[in-house]
């Protein structure tokens, strides 16, 4: 295996280097070979496209009520998915509702990902007393069931989208921080971190160069699995009247207002729930595939 080296460095520096595929290229390649991942990604892309272009696509005005056409079944006249309890077009409302629902699902997790990773990596890398102080504080928050905590915080802060976002963010910081802490603790004990310390590098440099790249992936995967939970919690808050207010269309809120119609028009009433289900299962499947694609066990 030892090759005879004759080329001096000056020449070597000018010759083109064999570039090998980076880590993320490999992950993408594996994902592209995973039919489940592709399916979930397509569904999510369609949902996002639908949410983005909703105003252009809706067949009816989602706010236009009609007392004569209340709770019509699926396929009634030109109402493809029927109408709700105020006679508004379900299809249009579901399309526009995707905007708020996806927003409420993704935003809190994204903010919690940034804050939670920061807290967890700090605790994990510092170790010792700092770790104990941070993680025990996190544990106090973690002790509450997430639904209760979200409701309690939203209730205390008052109804409204902003407060719902804030309370959901607070709910998701502890679990993300815990995952970040445990991954960082593992990485910190690897020999390459020891070697970096042995070369005299400071803590900040080591975290930037050697820790971040190896922990953000797993934390990100875990966080994507929380998007589904966030959507369901946001829907729950709206359902309880703590999140989005009527007449704004949002899937959780629609589920709430349609619940009285479950016996008269069960298929129509179940539609918002079906949308939540499809979205959350797509996020879960994609994050599962991402997890296995990132697992580089040789």
């Amino acid at each position: 295996m030892s090759t005879a080296i004759t080329a001096p460095a000056a020449v070597a520096a000018n010759t083109p280097y064999e570039r090998s595929a980076g880590f993320w290229t490999g992950v993408l390649r594996k994902l592209a070979r995973d039919p489940v991942a592709i399916g979930a990604a397509i569904v999510l892309l369609l949902l996002v496209a639908m949410a983005l272009f909703a105003p252009l696509l809706t067949p009816h005005d989602p706010y236009q009520a009609s007392m004569l056409k209340r709770l019509k079944p699926i396929g009634f006249e030109n109402y493809l998915l029927g109408t709700d309890e105020l006679g508004r077009d379900m299809l249009s409302r579901l399309m526009v509702g995707a905007r708020l629902s996806l927003f409420m699902g993704i935003t809190p997790v994204l903010i919690a990902f940034v804050i939670g990773s920061g807290i967890g990596i700090l605790a994990g890398y510092a170790g010792g007393l700092v770790n104990t102080l941070i993680m025990r504080t996190i544990d106090v928050l973690y002790a509450f069931p997430s639904v209760l905590l979200a409701i309690a915080l939203s209730g205390a802060l008052g109804a409204g989208i902003g407060n719902a976002l804030l309370s959901l963010t607070i709910v998701f910081i502890p679990p993300i921080a815990r995952v970040a802490e445990s991954v960082t603790t593992q990485v910190r004990s690897r020999d390459y971190v020891e070697a970096a310390r042995a070369s005299g590098a400071g803590a900040f440099t080591i975290v930037r160069v050697h820790v971040l790249g190896n922990v953000l992936g797993p934390i990100f995967v875990y966080s994507t699995s929380l998007i589904a939970v966030s959507m369901i919690l946001a829907s729950g808050l709206s359902f309880l009247g703590l999140g989005v207010k009527p007449p704004e269309p949002e899937w959780g809120l629609m589920l709430n207002t349609l619940r009285t119609a479950i016996y008269t028009q069960p298929w129509v009433a179940a539609l918002p729930g079906l949308m939540i289900f499809i979205t959350s299962i797509s996020f879960n499947l994609l994050s599962d595939s991402l997890r296995s694609a990132m697992d580089v066990k040789n």
Binding site: T3, A12, E18, S20, F23, R190, A198
Partner: protein, 358 residues
Amino acid sequence: MSIGISVEHIGADPHGDRGGPAQPLLTVKKLVKHFDLKKSFLETLNGGGKVVRAVDGVDFKVLKGETLGVVGESGCGKSTTARLLMHLIEPSAGEIVFNGETVGSPALPLREYRRQVQMVFQDSYSSLNPRLTIQDSIAFGPQVHGVPKREALTRARDLLARVGLEPSRFAERYPHELSGGQRQRVNIARALASEPRLVILDEAVSALDKSVEAQVLNLLMDLKDEFGLTYIFISHDLHVVRYISDRVMVMYLGKVAETGPAEALFERPLHPYTRALLSSMPSMDPDHRTEEAPLAGDPPNPIDPPPGCRFHTRCPHAEAVCAQQVPSLESENGREAACLIHEPGSGHSDARAAIYAA
């Protein structure tokens, strides 16, 4: 040593050598590392629980340009000693003097010491960051010490060429695309990148195939001559240690049992533990097979090490005095052994009489 040496003078000398070649590069004095076991609340009130005495008062010297082999069973404190020398873990007590200066003193801050002392780990995979190309891994150390990125990368490619990995093929690869032997070559290049004086090789070749191991050992010996390095070579493989070392240190249960020149130590071991360890070497001669295990059982628990000589529980020459008196490291003719038999007037019935009996 020359106390009056000026700072400018050190700067002029590429190595900044203190004293002559006779002065040790590294002197370790009474190095101790005790790990606390998990304490219960009551034990904390009573003034502390138990400790694992991983390294318990170790003294040794490493001379300039030599290879010091360190051998011993697993759990004897070899690797802990290596980590203590790198200051990866803080010593509980003791002093490390490098090139005439105490490590951590104003004259030799830890950061500068860490440039001059580097380490190669056993696990070639876990010692390379999987997200960095190998040239970035090698260039990291010099960059920490202020070398510009371009220059550090050029140096990394030169070193890759020097350890036998063609830079144009390997520089931008990731660790998982390399074989174990190639990765360990990268680790060696990484250790050399910050131009160290002393390299600690902690089981650096133990995980490699025999044929690859031989190549890497020869590479290490070439590099030592080329860069004027000093090695501390930690291994459980006695054949390899004998092959590569100038002097050998035998450790047992956190203490030094014996040190001496490699050939003399392997030919005529002084300490009964060294003798037992050497007789456990698989024989290369089928007519003289190693049939029996020379030592029975495991070493005692380092939480409660035996009193007196730590080896007396397994030593064939143990007497009552061995359980009471702690042997000191007696030095004679460049050899040292911590055994009462070699300590004149120790009270052991074989004392004095047995010295150099072999």
